[in-house]
């Protein structure tokens, strides 16, 4: 087994060598249509050590952890922790994300949790919009319209609330190498 596969296997806790390529994972995946390669190929590519391809792929950001593939896998391989491991590794190594908007959202969300202890949607969304430069894209108006609808219904408060035990939150983040 190559070093990359070993690393992913250790981080994800999944035994990749159990895979016999039945493709049941790919068949049931709701988002595989937006991957470069379907789920079973991702496993195969890890086995073959294709690190650069995977860490720079859309697939790792288009997997949304619905756990359908893992639950149906005849060999009990869960792809979501594998994808988690790939994503975390990509972030750790500072690789440019093939889906920058998705990474920007996750970063904005976690930054908000880190800052306040709870996520404050208004500031988080603002940060996300800026970071992702989504407002420059054609789809933005639709997104903004959705946000406006929520605002109009009084659903997004303007003032963030914060937790008192921030020291513990800080310790959690200090334990990791996550850079936001």
């Amino acid at each position: 087994m190559n070093a990359f596969a070993r690393q992913i296997q250790e981080r994800s806790g999944q035994n990749l060598s159990r895979c016999y390529q039945c493709k049941k994972c790919s068949g049931g995946c709701p988002t595989a249509r937006w991957f470069e390669w379907p789920n079973h190929s991702v496993v195969r590519m890890i086995q073959r050590g294709l690190k650069d391809e995977l860490l720079g792929s859309r697939a790792i950001w288009m997997c949304i952890t619905c756990e359908t593939c893992g639950a149906r896998c005849p060999n009990g391989i869960y792809l979501s922790p594998i994808m988690d491991a790939l994503r975390a590794l990509a972030v750790e190594e500072g690789r440019p994300a093939a889906e920058p908007a998705v990474l920007a959202f996750h970063k904005a969300f976690v930054a908000s949790a880190k800052r306040f202890g709870r996520v404050h949607e208004a500031t988080m969304l603002a940060a996300f919009m800026l970071k992702s430069r989504l407002f420059l894209q054609s789809g933005f108006l639709g997104e903004a319209a959705g946000g406006l609808k929520l605002l109009a219904r009084g659903k997004i408060p303007f003032r963030p609330s914060s937790v008192k035990g921030k020291a513990q939150i800080d310790r959690i983040f200090a334990e990791s190498d996550l850079k936001l």
Partner: protein
């Protein structure tokens, strides 16, 4: 009977009516919900993507608080439930991650409390009987489909659900208040809520298929138990106009919990017509 309660960050924002209806229904049934003190964000659908430990540490802190409170923890939002439950499983299994959590959060997991979704809660003995007893206005004639999505049922090794492909608890709850729960084929398919930011069009591909299928099955509404699913289904169903209501709202209507008008106001697709 008392439960600890983890409302989650959306309780005071996008999931306001979920929180309000949950509290209302529990009260109407004679259950106390004690919000655990100083809870924090569970990490949402983001933390685990960026860092393994942060993804576990955030929900684990809430578990530590719940353990001190000493009662089983109700987590209505499916996404929050899944994160907290995963942390519970990691702590119970023991090993490197569990040791690290105990060290960083300076606590010892004793396994004294359990994490419950609303589905878990509805399966507790006596809950549906209590609902049936207290129905004030049966929802006779209302046809719904129940939607579980991903996080309430998967992964089965976290949720412990034997029948994750075809759960029937929410249906039983709908039937308990006199509604008709229709069989349909998408109750555990993903709505794509996590695609909403950045790829709303893609989320809409998934959502509109769900809503379309619900409509074809003859449903007047989709019943959910997750703030993210709810928002996504309402906003991205491709203009079909199928109302999406929380299971607690449905129960609350039948139990005639006060303040319901405020719930309906929060919806993008107004469901109040269902109950006239």
């Amino acid at each position: 009977m008392k439960f600890s309660y983890y409302p989650g960050c959306t309780a005071h924002s996008t999931g306001w009516e979920f929180n309000a209806s949950t509290e209302g229904v529990f009260a109407a049934l004679g259950y106390d919900l004690d919000e655990i003190p100083d809870w924090n964000c569970c990490g949402g659908a983001s933390a685990h993507n960026l860092d393994h430990f942060v993804g576990l540490g955030l929900p684990a802190r809430n578990l530590a608080i719940a353990q001190d409170a000493g009662r089983d923890l109700i987590v209505p939002c499916a996404g929050c439930y899944n994160n907290v439950k995963k942390a519970q499983v990691v702590l119970e299994r023991g090993g490197g991650d569990a040791d690290r959590l105990a060290r960083v959060l300076a606590f010892e997991w004793r396994g004294a409390v359990d994490v419950l979704s609303l589905v878990d809660w509805l399966e507790r003995p006596g809950v549906l009987d209590a609902v049936r007893e207290r129905v004030k206005r049966p929802l006779t004639g209302l046809k719904v489909v129940a939607y579980y999505g991903c996080q309430l049922v998967r992964p089965p090794r976290v949720t412990g659900r034997p029948s994750w492909e075809n759960p029937t608890t929410l249906e039983a709850a709908c039937e308990a208040v006199g509604a008709t729960a229709l069989d349909w084929s998408f109750k555990t398919d993903c709505c794509g809520a996590d695609l909403a930011f950045g790829h709303g069009d893609r989320a809409e591909v998934l959502c509109s298929r769900l809503a379309g299928s619900a409509r074809r099955a003859g449903a007047d509404a989709i019943v959910v138990s997750c703030g993210l699913c709810h928002a996504n289904l309402e906003m991205r169903q491709g203009g079909l106009g199928v109302p999406v209501v929380y299971i607690t709202e449905l129960l609350g209507e039948a139990l005639q919990v006060p303040g319901r008008d405020k719930w309906w106001e929060k919806h993008i697709i107004d469901p109040s017509g269902l109950f006239r």
